[in-house]
């Protein structure tokens, strides 16, 4: 090269050196006949491939076919696969050679794991600068980590299911659930001091749910829960025991006069119509009550069904009222009533 000549010289590489840099090179003549290949590609094609036309050994996908090497040079990115099973796929680039012919450099792309497995390749089959080994490494590391995460998620799901089973809170209203109510009822029975049990059912809740939607229904339940909570003492248990059913346990409430005051307080708190997104949600409360005297030996199930009888009596009498089960006369008597309950029934 002459002094001051800044033109890039061409490269003269022997096949050995080229194969070390690019173990998957493919050298073609102008008519697309295979002149030579890197050691890894030779292993994949078989030695007999040298001298054959390109399309005898490979199925071309991009470009669809190449009788002349120039077709390969025009394609931006080559895609091809081996004709023989397992039809390993390659992507590649073609560049013109000084003189004649083209040089292709091929790579496995995303199929690298399959190719390595199918052909039993090892690290020495890749150029030291190739990131294929790192890619395989990352694939396995990712698989191991995901396996751990999946096992952890399974354990957490199991733990969550167990916790939900044991939970005592109704997530929608923040009140106790049936489990909490049953536990509190057992405690009161064992304590033997006497208490009142109120079984509350919403009137017209289904209509609100059907006409205004479930979010309105959920809003109503949460609002009723808050108003019931405000109507009783902090230590009293308020629980949501079903869709639109609530139970209140009032420790130490032993007579109908005290119960009457509480009923009046509840209906007072319910006087303002609940609204959801500006639309009124007209619901009412029917309440069945039962008084449990000190030292009562009645079963819990029997108590609940007596409260149910009183609740049924309230519904039958026109809803919107609290009825107390009277054990002496085997009937329920009215203790409190919501404003306009009579009017609603008549209309």
């Amino acid at each position: 090269m002459m002094e001051g000549d800044l033109r890039q010289p061409g490269f003269h590489l022997g096949p050995g050196a080229l194969g070390q840099l690019m173990p998957m090179y493919l050298s073609l003549d102008a008519a697309c006949r295979i002149r030579g290949a890197g050691p890894t590609l030779l292993k994949l094609m078989g030695e007999g491939a040298v001298g054959k036309p390109l399309e005898d050994v490979f199925t071309l996908r991009k470009p669809r076919s190449a009788v002349q090497a120039s077709a390969l040079l025009r394609a931006q990115r080559l895609q091809m696969s081996l004709r023989d099973a397992p039809a390993t796929t390659f992507k590649g680039t073609a560049v013109p050679l000084l003189g004649d012919g083209v040089l292709l450099n091929l790579s496995f792309g995303f199929g690298v794991r399959d190719a390595v497995r199918d052909h039993g390749l090892s690290a020495t089959d890749f150029a030291d600068t190739d990131l294929a080994i790192e890619l395989l490494y990352l694939y396995e590391a990712k698989t191991a980590v995901m396996g751990e995460l999946t096992r952890m998620a399974d354990r957490l799901r199991g733990a969550r299911a167990r916790a939900e089973e044991q939970a005592a809170t109704d997530p929608l209203t923040g009140l106790g659930n049936r489990r909490a109510m049953e536990a509190a009822l057992q405690r009161l029975m064992r304590g033997g001091e006497g208490f009142a049990l109120l079984h509350i059912d919403l009137d017209y809740f289904k209509q609100v749910n059907d006409t205004l939607g479930h979010s309105a229904g959920d809003h109503v339940l949460a609002e009723v829960a808050a108003r019931l909570r405000r109507s009783v003492r902090a230590g009293d248990l308020v629980a949501r025991v079903g869709g639109d059913e609530f139970v209140i346990l009032l420790a130490g409430v032993l007579d109908s006069a005290a119960l009457e005051r509480i009923g009046a307080t509840i209906y007072d708190h319910m006087r303002l119509t609940i609204t959801h997104e500006g639309r009124p949600c007209p619901i009412g409360l029917s309440i069945g009550a039962v008084l449990v005297g000190p030292g009562s030996d009645q079963g819990e199930a029997a108590l609940v069904s007596l409260a149910d009888l009183a609740l049924y009596a309230s519904k039958r009498a026109g809803r919107g009222r609290m009825m107390l089960w009277n054990p002496d006369q085997d009937i329920s008597q009215e203790l409190a009533r919501a404003d306009g309950a009579e009017r609603r029934v008549r209309s």
């Binding site: 497995r117 080994i133 395989l136 490494y137 698989t143 191991a144 396996g147």
Partner: protein, 209 residues
Amino acid sequence: MHGLVNKALQSFISDAFGAAVWRDVAQHAGITQLLGADGFEAMQSYDDALTEAVLDSAVVLLRRPRDSLLEDLGTYLISHERMEPLRRLLRFGGVSFTDFLYSLDELQGRSHLAVPDLALPDLALSEAGADSFLLTCSDGPVGFGHVMVGILRALADDYGALVVLEHRGIRRTDGADGPPGTVELIEIEVHDPAYHAGRRFDLATEAAR
């Protein structure tokens, strides 16, 4: 300490000595209440004190010196079938045992690619002579060098190489060129890189789990 490390310690104790021994160790270390029946979770971080407590309890209950217990942990990580994914990840380091030794410089970076918050100690390999090397483990948990000796011993066997390994002790750094910490030195002599056939390693397996 990362959950993967703690989980490995837990698996080692229960696989090598029995699930009942692990329960005793956990009880003795006072972590049963804290962690529940499943013990450590792999993808969670724990206070270093928990790991130390488990290790101390294992030393007491198994009546084994701490160093040899740690070395056995290292061997377990490579040779137990449950730890096959880890063996494979390390074998990606090189085609021969010597090649693998040179990849230890990159181990921190490699592990960082897989689990960014794993925080393995810094490893540096230097040549001490022909086929003789010195591995420096910096700023790891104290005793990590012994785990490393166990790992190297098992991997040498895996590659089929004949090597002699020696832990050369722990040195505390004063912190003149950085935060104070510990340095552990391991001497490695490779007598025959192809002493026996070793275990097979395919780059891609049918079912890598």
